[in-house]
Structure formats: C-alpha cells, structure tokens
Amino acid sequence: MIGWHGKGEGVKDRVRIAIVGSGPAGLSAAGRAARLGMSHVLLEKTDHLSDTIFKYQKGKHVMATPSSLVLRSDFDFDAGKREQVLGTWEEQAAAGAITVRYNAEVTRIEGEKGAFVLTLKDGGTLEAEAVILAIGTQGNPNKLRCEGADLPHIQYQLDDPTEYIDEHITVVGTGDAGIENALGLAADPAQGNVVTILNRGAEFARAKEANVKLLTEAQAAGRVIVRNETTPAEVRPGQLVLDTRDGQETIRCDRIIARTGSAPPRKFVEDCGIAFTSPEREAFPVLSPVFETTRPGIHVIGALAGYPLIKHCMNQGYDVVEFLNGNTRLKPADEPILAEKFAALPGSRSVDEWLELLGSRIEIFRDISPLQLRELMLDSGVAAFRKGEAVFERNEIGSSLFAIAEGSVAVEVNKDDPSITVPIAQGSIFGEVGLISGRRRGATIRAAEDLIVVELSRSAALKMMATAPAAAKVVNRISIERQLLQIFGSGLTREDVAELVDGAEVQELRANEVLMKEGDEGADIFIIRRGSMIVEREIGGKPVFLSYLAAGAYVGEMAVIDGSRRSATVRAAIKSEVIRLPGEAFVRLLERKPQLRRKAFEEMERRREINAFVEGRKENFSSVVDMYSQTAQFLVDNGIGEATDVLLIDETLCVGCDNCEKACADSHDGLSRLDREAGTTYAHLHVPTSCRHCEHPHCMADCPPNAIQRGPDGEVFIDETCIGCGNCQRNCPYGVIRMDSVPPKKPSILSWLFLGKGPGPGEPSKDWRKKHAEGAEKPKQAIKCDMCAGIDGGPSCVRACPTGAAIRVSPEAFLSVAKLAEGE
C-alpha cells in the first residue's frame, strides 16, 4: 500500500477497519493498522489532520501529561508547540503508509459487524468490517440557517483576528466565542475593521459577565456595533440582509463569522445504535474492555470515550487495533501506574487480582465494566490503615469518596464523646456527604480493624455516577440515609429512618426558584443537598432576608411539626438540589423518638426567635434591616451563595494601596490571582475579582487532565498537570482564572529596598519580564487563587492589608442574623 492523500485512487471500497476522525486517537489507530498491514481508511471531516489540535491557538504549547504514562503509538508525541506536533504527525502519516481520506464526514453507519456501510456527507459509501469512532467531543458548529448560508465568506472559526484589515465583518451569536471574536477583530483600530455583532435576543444570557461588560464598553466606544433582536435573513456576496425588530435592513458585509454554538456528537453516535451509560450530559458510550460499544463491531476511543488527554487517545488507538488484530494478551499502557499504586497495599496481588477484588467486593463498583474500573483506579488512590487510625477527622475539608475494600470503619457521630460510634462495613462507602456538598467532614472516621480503602476524587466519583446509573443509585440512597442520620443525629438507626429514605425524592431547583412560599400549606420537609437557600419573609411589603442556609441544613420542619402554614419563603440562592422528605413519616418518627422531638422543637424555637428578632428590629431600625437584606441579596447575586470562602473588601477602609495584590503576587511566583479594583460593590462592600472557591466549582467541570482539585483547607486549586487549554477560564462565571506563564525570579525584597535591584514588590511589568527572561518562555498555564495553601499564616491578601479592609469569609458566617445585632 502506498502513502495516500486526497481522493480517488488507492482507496478501496471495502476495508478491514474504517477509522472515523483523525485526532490523536484515530491517527494512532491508523498508524497501528498500517504497521500491522491491515487494510484501513482514516476518514477525516476537514481537509487536515487532527482538527481539534489544528484549532488550538497559534503557537500553543501542547502538553504531554500524565508524564508517568508511557506513550504506545506508531506516531511520536512529545510536549511542544502545536505546529511542531502537527508537523511531526503530518510527516509520519505520509511516511507510514496511512490511507487518509479528507473532506470525508461520516454521516451514517449501517450494516453489521463484518459488513458495515458508512455513508459520507458527499453521498459516497464505503464498506468496512469494523469501525473505530474517534471523532472527539467537539461536534459540529451550528450552521447559519438562511438563504445564502453556503456562500464562501461565511466561516465558523476565527483563528487569528489580526489577519483581517479594512473589512466589514459581521459576527453572528453573542455567546462567549462570538463576543471574544468580535472584540478581537475590533481590538486594534489600526486594522480598520467595521465589526458588527448580531444578538438574537435583547440580553446576553449565554455569555460571561466579564465579556458582556467588555462588549458594552466596546460598543459605547464605537468599536463594535451591537445589534440586538437581530438575525441574519439572507447572505449575499458583500451584503447581509438582517431581520430586525423594525423590519429588514441590508448592511455591507465582507465576512461572516458564525458562532452560534455547536451540537455535541452524541446524537450522531446514538444514531449509530450506540448506547450511552446514562442520559446525563457527562455520560459516555458503554464500552467493553476492548473499547467495543453496544453495537458489535463499532469501537469508540479517545475523547469521545471519556479520555481527553492526547497520550491516552494515542495509546487507545494503538490498543484497539491490536485487539482487533486478535491480540488478547495486550496489557493497557497504564498497567505500571496501577501496579505502583497497588504495591503500597499489604498482600501481594497482581493488578488484575486487585481489580477483580475491588470490583467484586465494593458495592458501587459492581456494575462497572473492567475498563471503567481501570480508569477509575487511575484517578483514585488506595490506602491501608491500621486498626484505630483515623481516615479523616471531623471538620476536615474533603470531597473525596471512600469505598471499603477490606475491613470496616467506625464513625464517631458525637463530637463530644468519641466512644459513640456507628459502624460501616466492608463493601460500603463513606465520605459521600463531602462528595455531594463539597463542605467539611461531619465526623471522624477510624479504622475499626485493619483497613484497605479506595479513595475516589470528587470528579472521578461524579464521573462514575454519571456513567454508571446503578452506582449512582447506591451512592444516592446511602447518602440520603447518612445525611438524615447526621442531621437528626443522636440515637437514630438505619431502621428508624428507613421510612423517610424510602419516601425521599431528590428535587432540583433553579437559582431563585421558590421552594416554599410564606403562608402556603405544606407538609414536607427538605434537606439541602447541594447549593444553598435564602430564607426571607415579607415585612411591611418588602422581602426581608432572614437567613442563609448552606448545604446540609434542613427547612420546612416548623409547619410539619405544628401544622401551621409556612412562616417564611425559601428560595434557591443558586442552582440547588434538595431532598424532599414526606412530612407524615417525619411526624411518625418524632412520635417514636421523644429525644429527637425535643431537639426539633428547640431548633424550631431558635428559628422563631430569629424571626421575631428581625421583625422586632424592623419596627425600630427599618433602615438597618433593609440594608442588611439588600447587602445579603447583593452578595448572593454575586455568587456568594455558592462560595465556600470569599475575599471581600470593606471600601470604607480600603485606601487603594493594592498591597493585597502585591502580596498575592509575591506569595505565588510573582503572579497575582486577584484584581482588587475590578468587581462589584454595594454599600461599600466590594467583591473583587478573585476566586470564591465555589462549593461546586464550575472550573472543574471540563478539565482534560483533571488538574483542578479541592485541597485539604477547602481551597480549589490547579496543580502542575495543567495543560493550558483554557477550559476552566472559559467556564468560570466570575472571570477569576487567568492564563499566564511563570515570570523569572525577582531579586529579594531587601536588595530592592537597599540596592534598587529588581522590579520591587508585586507583579513584575511585562517589560521587566521580557528583559529578564531566562531561556524560552515557560508555557502558559491556568492560574487562580489557592487560598495560599501551604503558606503558614494563611491568605497573604488578608495578612498584607494595612487597614483591615480585606477579609475572607464563609457565607454562612457572614450572612447570619447575628451580624444584624452586631451591626447596630
């Protein structure tokens, strides 16, 4: 077979393997097939290899993590510039006799194992015995749907905004991508572009606030023309007809950049007859250990299979072709990593034996495929504890989930008396409360006998729950049960709460959605499982903020206990999840347990007092109460409802010296993670642009190397495995993540003070950095506040504030009525 590029000659109409998608996964698979002499074709939608990487920003440093994983592929891959990586592959694809077919988007796969028929977009078909789907997760950009939508001056991607000069350019779509493109095109007035952006609605619901602000500014400055409630009606060469609120209008337009989102590839995959593990957005195709889907003969690898790192992708490309070639003894490339992990455990077992043991003993692993378990174990830790050792302590921050592989543990449920414990047996899990609420551990847990546990990071556990519904169900049931026991505490057993657990229902609430309304009848009780709630009451025609309830708290018990109407309105501060418990079952429980009844009454009394207190205040200090309510609402609007620890600045004290920023930079490689002046302010309370360490961090959602974690002090931090893709920066709604490379080291503060050496405290200027750069610039990585983890004394921003204006608070403490009493 000869190296082949283009269309026509050389492509057989029937091949052994059709590989769809030429990303690192597909390319590596094709390389292996070529090397083994298997007839194959690599079908690529675009006119170049590896479109996802092709679309990276120019000159991006591509990282080759995890470094402990060996690369097993016929293609080379090492960390380096995007151009270099692509160049190498280009060369090796040509040299390695790989059959590629460009501009060949597969739109349908029919037929059976041994005789699949793949239909291409241009109508052509192709037969293959087996199919490897390696189409990644980027999906297809949504196309314009109007007349003239196929004209060549419409593009769906903008690589380099500085490329265009003196053009009339229209950007369609006001998501982040559209806004960023428009701003990029208009950034330099010297380019002379006339940039228009079309917004279908009147607001910018889909973009980040920071971007919207920039766009509004650019609009005010006359750099970008923003047209609201406008859609393209017809595209003509050099012109664009617009549908506006006041009828049609034609504008000059040399280029259209359409950024109206993209459709994920899931639908295509499902149409191929491939089942996903669950309907959740995060789910992946169900796969066998040899990457085979539920449709025999079709295999899925790479990002689509849930392995977003290039190395993983390439290894899988190699492996899947080996499997197809009948190599059954091939061990995955990650074997040595697992072997090292298990080596720390007592009892010398092989990796396979360990996996077998974990899979069969641990309840939540039972329905997981061996392939998934392997991957899960890569992201997880294993540890052994001697009898009596603590696995974690009460009040520690931790969001990981533990599963008991051997032995059992004792939970110290009473903080005053460690001798009162509740056992958890082999095969079960613990730590699930931290997993769901992302807050502190509620109890100390000790090994009751010699113990072996698996510790799943929060993201690994969530991924597992999304992909394995059976596991999710088990975790859910256990966590509801435990949460009940923890909240109602003393002396209750699993049997006592069984009725409540059976009737429990998980309910999701959007931000601001009302859970219960003051004055309504209601018989149910709710536990906040995720997110937070605001309790308010109408007094004198205005809603008055009563309290803030964090995850783990419960509401609604007052009406249930004394049969009265709801005494306050409770609504979600942010997107939240509550567990609804049937009221009658709760009443029955109270009847059986007088001790619990007493406790519930006390709690109810306390809440009544708060209500009365605020109401009483209202008469005399209505302005104080209003102020408190409004300040609380302001903070909640600014995301404090999902924060666990947030930096606030009291602007009655802030002298604007920026010592907080300088201290931040000086504590972290010379880069500040905080912008004091930016951000919102209400009544002199300023929320600067800095991380809030959200309970459920948005930034964690989509991190290919899983580099974002929650640390022992509750801080959300990014570790050194960051590959600089910028997903977290895009996902953070508060704009607190920046991409930058570590600047050269500065001379010490004393040599600056006395000898004038170096740039002085704070972040060095761009010029200084350039002048003192040592060798090549370091790759850009994501940078954010880590709450000064590991620095004795705690956050530098607070320590370095000369006036006490900078404070760090947790929302529960800050938004309590107690503040109202002190505030007078």
Binding site: D666, D792, P802
Partner: protein, 288 residues
C-alpha cells in the same frame, strides 16, 4: 460595623478575618498600651526629681531616650514589613494599629526625653524631624479614616483603567463628530481632546481645581455659538459627557493622591530622622 467572623477551625491553620478596622484593632489594644506607656512615662518624669535638671543626661532621660530610639527604629521597620510577604501569622493591620498608637506615644516619650530643652543643634533637629514624621502620620490617619468611602462612592465600581478607557472612547467619538464643524468650534474640540488628564501637576491634582479645563471651555465656547445645527449639538452632548467622566477621574486621582501624598513626607522624613537620630546618639556618646 465592628464585627468578627471566624472562618471556623481549619486543620492546622486557623486564620481569622476580624472585620475590624486598623484603628479599632482588637478593641483598641494598641491605644490602651500606648496610653499606658505614656502615663507611665509622665508619672516617672514628674515623680522623680532629676539632677542637675531634667534632660537626656539623667537616668530617666536615658531610659526615655532608649525607649524612644527603639520605638523609632521599630516604627521605621513598617516599610519592610509591608513589603516582605513572608510566611507566618503576622497581620499588617495589627502592625499599622500598633504603629499609629505607639507612634503617637512618641510625642510624650520624646518630649519628656528632651526635658523641654530645645535649641539649634542636631538633637533638636532629630526632635523636629520626628515631629514632622508624626504630624504627617496624623494627616495620613485623617486621610485613611475619611477618604476611602468617598473613593469608593466616586468610582461606582469602575476601575481607573475603565475610567480612562471611557474617556478615550468619548474622544474617538468626539473626533469623528467634530469633523463637520467650522474651524473655530473645531479648534475648541481639538484642544479639549489634546488635554491629558494626567498632565497637570501634583498640586492641581490635590486641589482638584482645574480652572483652565479645555473641555469646560469648549462647552462654553459652543454654547456661545447660540442655536446651532445637529452636528454641534451632538458634539456638545459628547463634551458634557466627557466633562462628567473627566470630573470623576479627577476626583478619583485627587482622592488617591491625598491617600498617598503624605507618605512622600512621612517616608523621606523618616530617612532623615534615622540619620539625625544616629548623629544625635553618636554625638551624645562622643561628648560623654
């Protein structure tokens, strides 16, 4: 709003953020300590009967002098503390609090140390410099206590960069809008555009007095033209907006300068004081 929030026990690293300004830090702890120090010094001064006469040469004089000199050295170290972001449980707020109150107590300690014997010599120079530092510090306290809220209200969530950007954006619009104008009015606009908000000197910035503001002049000049066409009206509107933004930026710079300017006395005077203090001590021991 003197309130205290504890972020709860964090294993091994319990940091708290008292929401308490530096003046009230820990319920005025340093005010109390400084007052006590002053009272003890006054009592010691008046209860003892120094011979031959009160002054630096008596034992009480030496004691007061030593306390004073140590205090001055420690007070000067604030400049380093502020910038050396080392690990540990220090808080700059506590340092500032102590700095202010102990600094003020120096008035008592040092004055008593002199025994009210002042003259034209290096000793009195040191004393005068110290008083200068203290007076500038008192101005600083006034500024720190009164200006931040004004700074905050004035900027209305805008950063300084955004204020400048807003003016630049208006400038670009003005530049375009002024094209159809006649020579006279157009020159007025150009002059307004040529005005650099950062050019005026420190004094103007502090006083907030911009009598020759070109933007204001352009507004007045255009108004004198009387009834005019739409182009002039548009320019006028833009100029009024520019004026408003300029005023905000000027107020911002004025407040920021006030918060900083005293340090340009406080710190150099501290340097001079340290030099004079050294001379004072050396000369005392030399003539001993």
């Amino acid at each position: 709003m003197a309130t205290r929030t504890t972020t709860g026990p964090v294993a091994g690293r319990e940091y708290r953020s008292d929401h308490e300004g530096f003046l009230r830090h820990r319920h005025f702890r340093w005010l109390k300590i400084a007052t006590l120090l002053s009272v003890i010094c006054i009592a010691a001064y008046f209860l003892t009967d120094p011979r031959p006469r009160p002054g630096g040469g008596t034992w009480i004089g030496y004691t007061l002098g030593t306390i004073g000199a140590l205090l001055i050295v420690w007070l000067s170290l604030l400049g380093i503390r502020k910038r050396a972001i080392t690990e540990g449980r220090w808080s700059l707020k506590a340092w500032t609090s102590a700095h202010v109150y102990l600094g003020l107590s120096l008035i008592v300690v040092a004055t008593l140390h002199t025994g009210f014997q002042l003259g034209w010599n290096v000793h009195t120079l040191a004393y005068a410099l110290m008083m200068l530092v203290i007076l500038s510090g008192m101005f600083g306290i006034w500024a720190y206590a009164t200006l931040p809220s004004a700074l905050s209200s004035n900027r209305e969530q805008m950063t300084q960069g955004q204020m400048i950007d807003a003016i630049r954006a208006l400038d670009r619009q003005l530049d375009e809008a002024a094209q159809p104008l006649a020579r006279g009015p157009s020159d007025l606009v150009l002059e307004a555009l040529g005005e650099d908000p950062f050019a005026p000197g420190l004094w103007r910035r502090l006083s907030g007095n911009y009598r020759n503001c070109a933007t204001q002049k352009a507004i007045e000049g255009l108004a004198r033209l009387g009834d005019q066409d739409a182009a002039v009206e548009r320019v006028e509107k833009l100029l009024v907006r520019r004026k408003a933004h300029l005023e905000r930026l000027r107020r911002h710079m004025r407040l920021k300068s006030m918060l900083e300017v005293w340090l340009y006395v406080h710190v150099p005077a501290t340097m001079a004081l340290l030099a004079a203090l050294t001379a004072h001590i050396v000369s005392v021991f030399y003539y001993w």
